[in-house]
């Protein structure tokens, strides 16, 4: 039993390797004969049994029209090979985007299916292993986007594997499919792990040093307007004087801005540290307080706001991740 399973797994692995060589990853893939596989479906096998019964009837009754009809259905099967193949051939599958998520959440992967010519394509079924599935037609439009949700598991770049695109159109007798390796990854943040309190505020700057901060009272200086700055803090007088858009900056003391530091959690493992940091990022973001991030080899200055949070989370998500590689 186990030997057989081992053999099957070995076969499966060999097949995967072969497919990897044959269909390498790309941002967009156009289907041609190198990438399309076709084989009778389970229905096709059932149909073949029906054809054999029909042939037996024709032989036993020595009935030529029964022969003719049996052969017609037989050759219809053959012609269907071309039609089923044509239904997939010439399609281009393009990676669009994948939403970043926390582990255990469903990332939404968007792909676009485009047709090359003007042929109609029906019942294109797309699915990643373990994803929701989608069924689309390309009849009146030249391209269609499909969103598929996949549950992400591990921090880092998450790839759902090879995308399966299959169709049994028009007769259901043959299954035509391809496994496309799309260069499409979802970023997976660390799993937030709560700690009761933030151990030892890391404030490496001496008291009194002013650090720009939003939402405090003391005027600090001007800087160029950046998209997202509050209108209330715009320096309207300066604008009137023709000095361009400027934002008034207010100072706060560094003690009020927090550094989230790698060294805050001595003794914890890498993933654990990242999870704690992630938790606190979300906490500060919720409280609308400034925070910065210090990881070995990476410092992100303090800030607040959605963009800042995304930057920080990205740094956490990709800490120690080398390039994009798929999990096996």
């Amino acid at each position: 039993m186990t030997a057989r399973r081992g053999f099957r797994q070995g076969l499966r692995k060999r097949f995967r390797e072969w497919v990897n060589r044959r269909i390498p990853a790309a941002r967009s893939v156009t289907l041609d004969q190198r990438r399309i596989f076709i084989f009778p479906s389970r229905t096709g096998l059932f149909f073949t049994i029906c054809l054999i019964v029909m042939l037996m009837t024709a032989i036993n009754y020595q009935n030529n029209m029964s022969y003719a009809l049996t052969f017609l259905l037989c050759t219809l099967f053959v012609v269907a090979i071309l039609h089923t193949y044509a239904n997939l051939s010439g399609l281009t599958i393009r990676a669009v985007r994948a939403t970043p998520v926390f582990p255990g959440q469903q990332s939404e992967f968007s792909i676009q299916i485009e047709r090359g010519g003007e042929r109609e394509h029906f019942a294109l079924h797309v699915q990643w292993p373990d994803s929701s599935s989608g069924m689309v037609n390309l009849v009146d439009q030249d391209a269609v986007q499909v969103q598929l949700r996949v549950t992400a598991r591990k921090r880092g770049w998450f790839s759902p594997g090879r995308l399966l695109l299959e169709s049994t159109y028009p007769l259901g007798l043959l299954r035509c499919w391809t496994w496309v390796d799309l260069d499409l990854y979802a970023m997976v943040y660390p799993r937030p792990l709560p700690t009761d309190e933030l151990p030892g505020f890391a404030t490496d700057q001496p008291d009194g040093a002013a650090v720009p901060s939003v939402g405090s009272d003391d005027f600090y200086g001007f800087r160029e307007y950046r998209h997202g700055d509050s209108l209330r803090q715009l320096y309207w007088k300066g604008l009137a004087r023709g000095q361009g858009l400027q934002t008034k900056q207010y100072g706060a003391y560094a003690s009020r801005s927090v550094w989230l530091d790698w060294e805050m959690f001595p003794g914890a493992g890498v993933e654990q540290r990242l999870s704690y940091l992630c938790h606190w990022v979300l906490q500060f973001e919720k409280r609308n307080e400034e925070y910065g991030l210090r990881l070995p080899g990476l410092v992100i200055e303090a800030g607040v706001g959605e963009r800042h949070r995304d930057r920080v989370l990205q740094a956490l998500a990709l800490y120690g991740v080398e390039g994009r590689s798929r999990e096996t």
């Binding site: 149909f47 036993n60 029209m65 012609v79 019942a123 079924h125 030249d142 159109y169 028009p170």
Partner: protein, 669 residues
């Protein structure tokens, strides 16, 4: 339950349509209640679709299946046989429809539908049936395609186009396979058409039996002669020889009536060249094969009986082709065995005393049997006997006496029976022969068409030295019948096909109707010969001729070769996409237009848009301004349309553009 596996409204409608076209040709063969189940199932399924009813529960389904089986058992008295099987299939089809929900149910249903298409051929393989079945196959295929088009919530006809295209593409491949696939004999015995009526002449004859056939215009068989067709009056197609008179009916000898030494036909001396012809007999569900005498057949499965008629040991359920050699002058049984003589003279002595007395009286007057035969025939001619399709009913007792002395009207079987009775009464061995007489020559393909109304009965008498001699008393009463056929013979009575007003044969005098009928019949003959009758021998001959010797390698090569020849263009046209005008073609037209303008002195500047160029050209070439503007506008439409818009009318616009550019001749300067 995956939602994309559900049957769409469009697919459901197609399935229900094909379900009803499938049952239509079987309607006459199945009990009426099966049709009721059919309609009930369709209504139930539609109600389910509309959300008013729900799918039948497990117990309801089980109950329906059991009552279906029971109903068929009670309707036919058995579950075996072809008709009960088909009724079962159709009932199963209807019940499956009721629970049709998922695509996999649809597969079961539609594959069953294909099989039901085949069962129709077991009853008839004639052209109209084939055409109708092709329609059925197309509809079933349409339903199959419709099932794979998700999101079609409205009934539409798009799938039928693809179904037709795919079937047409499959057709040439099928033809090759049809002729090359080796024909082998039946693998096991199969249920027969036990419930189909027998047609044609039956193995016993009562007064009125043949005249009943005389009212039918169906074709009994078609004959093709090699060489000249013998004259009409010589076409006596023997089918049955009836030597026994029992309870007022003549019947042929059955196998167990014959002593073992009499079961085989005695050898016949033949000389000269025989008449060669082949017969295609319509299915009769009986055994006899018709031929001119003396006949022998080289075809397999054809046997000859002791009274020199051909028969098939198996019932003729389908069209049957057989070849015959006939020596018309051969002497049958120059000597009679004692058993045979006794048989052919036996008579119930108590019946018809007046006829028997007349026979003895005439025989006494005649010097030899031949003279006696002539005297009896002369009596038929002399007395006011009439030939009628609707003779008066005869009493059960002494029927021949009533016919000979009171009614004096009858159809051929009355004359034949009375004649044989008189022969036997006078000690001349005689018997009734039933079959067909005459036939219509189809000028289109020189076949002889024998209809049911050509059914005939005549007599054979045994004369010393001449063996069995054919005597037809009908010829003495109505020579027209023999020379010209039944229609002429009944011209006075006006009873020819009176009960079938729609029969095309009634309109033989209308030239175009007749031409059409005969052409169609010639087509039917060709169809029967080449398609229905295509058997192992014919296949062997054909392949031998085409391939110059039988070899499996050649067949496989031919099969692969022709398939590639058909499939490659199909693949090419499929993958290339559908008639989309190539970008370059549009550009080429426009460049040609620019060239022509350049020759006329207006040269397009680099970076000039078509509109700017057109405006400039119009200014310098006022005479052709309309053409320039039209071409520019059309080019703009073609070149800057979206891909999907382009399809609609694109090729028409391109043709228009090409035409305009070709016909564009701007005046110089």
């Amino acid at each position: 339950m995956k939602p994309d596996q559900q049957i769409s409204r469009n697919a459901l409608v197609w399935i229900i349509i094909s379900m009803f076209t499938l049952v239509a040709p079987h309607a006459g063969r199945i009990p009426v209640w099966v049709l009721a189940v059919y309609i009930f199932a369709a209504i139930w399924r539609i109600m389910v679709f509309q959300g008013r009813w729900s799918f039948p529960g497990r117990w309801v389904k089980a109950g329906l299946i059991v009552s279906g089986f029971a109903g068929i058992y009670f309707s036919y008295g058995s579950l075996l046989g072809l008709e009960p099987t088909i009724a079962l299939l159709l009932t199963a089809f209807a019940l499956k429809l009721m629970e049709l929900n998922q695509r996999k149910d649809g597969y079961v249903l539609l594959f069953l539908a294909y099989f039901i298409c085949i069962t129709e051929f077991l009853f008839s393989q004639e052209l109209p049936v084939v055409v109708y079945s092709m329609l059925n196959v197309t509809l079933v295929t349409t339903a199959l395609i419709a099932m794979h088009r998700p999101g079609e919530h409205q009934f539409n006809r798009k799938s039928i186009r693809l179904a037709a295209v795919m079937l047409l593409q499959a057709l040439p491949l099928m033809v090759v396979l049809f002729f090359l696939f080796p024909r082998i004999g039946p693998l096991w015995s199969v249920p027969l058409k036990s419930h189909t009526a027998k047609t044609g002449v039956s193995d016993f004859m009562k007064p009125g039996d043949i005249s009943r056939l005389g009212k039918s215009d169906e074709v009994a068989f078609r004959v093709q002669f090699e060489g000249e067709i013998p004259p009409q009056s010589e076409l006596y197609w023997r089918g049955l020889v009836m030597s026994k008179l029992e309870d007022g009916a003549w019947r042929s000898l059955r196998y167990y009536d014959l002593p073992p030494d009499q079961r085989r036909p005695r050898p016949v001396q033949t000389d000269g060249d025989p008449l060669l012809y082949q017969v295609i007999l319509e299915p009769t569900q009986q055994h006899w094969l018709y031929s001119l005498r003396y006949a022998s057949s080289p075809s397999p499965g054809v046997l000859a009986s002791a009274d020199y008629v051909l028969f098939s040991p198996a019932e003729l359920e389908d069209e049957r082709l057989y070849k015959v050699q006939t020596w018309p002058g051969a002497i049958l049984e120059p000597t009679l065995s004692d058993w045979r003589r006794e048989l052919e003279l036996s008579l119930p002595s108590t019946e018809n005393p007046r006829t028997l007395a007349l026979a003895r009286q005439l025989r006494a007057e005649a010097e030899d049997p031949q003279a006696y035969v002539d005297m009896v025939l002369a009596r038929f001619t002399r007395e006011p006997f009439t030939y009628s399709l609707n003779p008066r009913l005869l009493p059960a007792e002494n029927a021949t006496d009533a016919f000979m002395f009171e009614t004096l009207t009858g159809f051929c079987e009355h004359y034949a029976a009375a004649f044989v009775l008189m022969m036997r009464a006078a000690g001349v061995p005689a018997r009734v022969v039933a079959g067909y007489q005459g036939g219509e020559v189809n000028p289109v393909n020189r076949t002889v068409l024998v209809h049911q109304f050509d059914a005939h009965a005549w007599a054979e008498v045994w004369l010393e030295g001449r063996g069995w001699v054919r005597v037809d008393p009908t010829a003495a009463v109505s020579p027209e019948r023999i020379e010209w056929g039944l229609e002429r013979a009944l011209a006075m009575e006006g009873s020819f096909l009176r009960e079938s007003p729609l029969s095309l044969i009634r309109y033989r005098s209308v030239a175009w109707v007749n031409t059409l009928r005969l052409r169609y019949d010639a087509l039917t003959y060709r169809w029967q010969l080449w398609v229905i009758g295509f058997d192992r021998d014919q296949q062997f001959q054909l392949l031998n001729r085409v391939f110059d010797g039988i070899s499996v390698r050649k067949f496989v090569l031919a099969l692969i070769g022709t398939w590639i020849l058909v499939l490659v263009p199909i693949a090419f046209s499929l993958l290339r996409g559908r008639s989309r005008p190539a970008e370059s073609e549009i550009q080429r037209c426009y460049l040609l237009f620019c060239d022509k303008l350049a020759r006329a002195g207006v040269i397009r500047a680099p970076g000039e848009t078509p509109d700017q160029f057109s405006a400039r050209a119009v200014r310098s070439l006022r005479s052709s301004s309309g053409q320039i503007e039209r071409i520019t506008r059309l080019y703009g439409e073609l070149a800057y349309r979206g891909t999907s818009e382009r399809r609609a009318g694109a090729s028409a616009s391109l043709t228009e553009l090409r035409r305009l550019v070709r016909g564009f001749h701007p005046a110089q300067g």
